[in-house]
């Protein structure tokens, strides 16, 4: 447990150093840069790129979570049950669309820049969250629901105090999937002129500067791994808490 903690702290420190003090890494990346070429990406600060990258991801994921969970709640109510097969079809088909294709298709419709990237991330992010939220809300134990009804909770109270908390770990898994996909897709977003860390990688690819590619790749990779890890930790913690509640 402690070894894992130390490892995590080391990764965080490495990430921070890469983003805040890129100059420290000149000797590391120098062998990869072309002769006499720049070693460290200097056209924009890595910090501002990281911030706008994360900003895109957070905005898209939060919006997608709100919309998807609301839709899932509607669809799992008796009144919305009619739409459930249709919504399942949509999510199934939607998830076979490659994220890059969604991004590429958003450009003709919306133009270049951060806007289409955000829309593509949002639309694509809806699917895993919605799917997991529906699964989570629909798979609640009947006995628990009966008990909640039995102690006189209104529909609203049941939703807020019983259904949503119980479904939370599953919903969180959906949010994690969606956030990780969004992080990766946002990297590609720089090809449609959104300001993200992908810019560094693409610049490296275009100028044959492997140092840039490595730099960008490492930063994005570390962000993704740490985000994933943090979400998994949160999920296990929540699952344990609610597991204890329902089990004991």
């Amino acid at each position: 447990m402690t070894r894992a903690l130390v490892f995590r702290a080391a990764l965080c420190a490495l990430l921070l150093a890469l983003v805040l003090r890129p100059d420290w890494f000149v000797p590391v990346f120098a062998p990869f840069a072309p002769e006499g070429g720049p070693v460290i990406y200097a056209r924009a600060s890595l910090l501002s790129l990281s911030l706008s990258h994360l900003g895109l991801v957070v905005l898209a994921t939060v919006a997608a979570t709100l919309v998807a969970v609301t839709l899932a709640i509607l669809v799992t109510r008796p009144a919305g049950a009619v739409f459930r097969p249709l919504s399942r079809t949509i999510t199934n088909i939607g998830q076979t669309f490659p994220p890059v294709a969604v991004l590429a298709l958003a450009v003709p419709a919306l133009g270049f820049g951060a806007g289409p990237t955000l829309v593509a991330l949002f639309l694509y992010g809806l699917l895993p969250i919605f799917e997991n939220a529906v699964t989570g809300l629909a798979a609640l134990p009947t006995a628990t629901m009966e008990a909640a009804r039995g102690i006189g909770l209104t529909r609203w109270q049941r939703l807020w105090r019983v259904e949503l908390p119980l479904a939370l770990p599953v919903i969180l898994t959906g949010i994690r999937l969606s956030a990780v996909i969004a992080l990766g897709t946002a990297t590609i977003g720089s090809t449609v002129a959104a300001r993200t860390l992908g810019e560094v990688i693409i610049a490296g690819l275009l100028t044959n500067n492997t140092a840039y590619v490595l730099q960008g790749g490492l930063v994005v990779g570390l962000f993704a791994v740490l985000l994933y890890d943090a979400m998994v930790q949160l999920e296990t913690r929540l699952a344990r808490r609610f597991g204890n509640l329902t089990g004991g």
């Binding site: 088909i93 490659p98 992908g198 490595l214 993704a224």
Partner: protein, 361 residues
């Protein structure tokens, strides 16, 4: 529909009823209206299916008739592309069709024949030259050889990496199934690999493979180099391992303990147990893993276009650089079509291997 003076500038919208003479527009619009009416019919899924098909036909009719009528005397570089309304209608009709099909839930073989019918209709449509006037088809015509090349490359990347991943992942999954410790060590590593954004993964592969290409004798003869096919292929294989291994483990563990006991009681060896009992029972889940990999790799192979790996991604990124919308579409639409087809075919396979409910008990 939009009509533009050349392929870069934004076009002017032309409403569907102004497209061409009444002889062309009326049948198309009528088909669309009937389709939407039929499509709203709540009870009869067959009717909805027929409505959607009729609507699609009407849409294509309008597209083909309208494009040639608009181009008449519009100048040599003029381009016609379908407008936003076309895409919206296309999506609505496709959803109607998918929904009707989901309600009908046809048997796997019928589904397969429907897929073949749809694919051949599409092929006839594209081959007949009815849509030749559309901008996207003009982009295609000027890149015919490159397109065929890209298609082969794309298929090679996604299927090749799938085969490599299956060759590695299936035995690994079986080992993990046997050995708890190995499973605990492997699965988290693989899921971390899966987390790394694709562009970063492709980027990290470049120096790695470049080093291998420079330092291992004979590696370059195999085409292993920093950019191109090899890093894309390797990255795709790494991404594919998690679904394959995880689903193999899940599939093999899915055998009910009673069944396993019975097999052991019959005197089966561990090997026989694996081959004759656990694998057949787990097959649908293993195939589901392969479906995930296939769909995912077809999508990810687009990004290979950025590192010179070829495939449809080449068109997408060329199009993005030149702001030529139709070139983007030329890369994106076949990718989507390929992914959808792969998903449907794999779904059919999964359904075929799933034992019937009666025999499962």
């Amino acid at each position: 529909m939009t009509l533009a003076a050349n392929r870069i500038v934004a076009g002017d919208g032309v409403a569907s009823w102004n497209l061409a003479g009444p002889g062309v527009t009326w049948p198309g619009l009528a088909a669309l209206a009937t389709a939407l009416l039929l499509g709203l019919h709540p009870r009869r899924p067959w009717l909805r299916l027929a409505g959607a098909a009729l609507g699609l036909a009407g849409l294509v009719w309008l597209l083909a008739g309208g494009a040639s009528a608009l181009l008449d005397g519009a100048g040599e570089y003029a381009r016609v592309s379908p407008g936003a309304g076309f895409w919206c209608l296309l999506i609505v009709l496709a959803l109607l069709m998918a929904d009707a099909l989901a309600v009908l839930s046809p048997r796997p073989l019928i589904k397969a024949s429907l897929l073949i019918v749809a694919a051949s209709l599409l092929a006839v449509l594209l081959g007949s030259g009815a849509l030749v006037d559309l901008s996207i088809m003009q982009e295609f015509a000027s890149r015919k050889d490159a397109f065929a090349d890209a298609t082969l490359r794309h298929l090679g990347l996604s299927f090749g990496s799938l085969i490599a991943a299956a060759a590695l992942g299936l035995p690994l999954g079986m080992l993990c199934h046997r050995r708890e410790a190995l499973r605990r060590a492997t699965l988290p590593v693989l899921s971390f690999l899966q987390t790394i954004p694709s562009l970063a993964m492709f980027g990290i592969m470049i120096p790695l493979l470049g080093w291998v290409g420079d330092n291992v004798p004979g590696a370059q003869a195999f085409g292993i180099a920093g950019i191109g096919f090899a890093p894309a292929f390797l990255a795709l294989v790494l991404y594919s391992l998690l679904p394959v291994v995880a689903n193999t483990v899940a599939g093999l563990q899915g055998t009910p303990p009673a069944t396993r006991e019975a097999a052991r009681g019959m005197g089966m060896t561990a090997r026989q147990l694996l081959l004759r009992v656990e694998l057949p029972i787990g097959l649908p889940i293993i195939l589901t893993g392969i479906r995930i990999v296939l769909v995912q790799n077809i999508g990810l192979a687009v990004i290979a276009g950025l590192i010179g790996g070829g495939g449809f991604g080449t068109f997408v990124f060329q199009g993005l650089n030149q702001t030529a919308t139709d070139l983007i579409l030329l890369g994106a639409l076949p990718t989507v079509a390929m992914a959808l087809t792969a998903a449907i075919v794999m779904d059919i396979l999964v359904a075929l291997t799933r034992p019937l409910p009666e025999s499962a008990t």
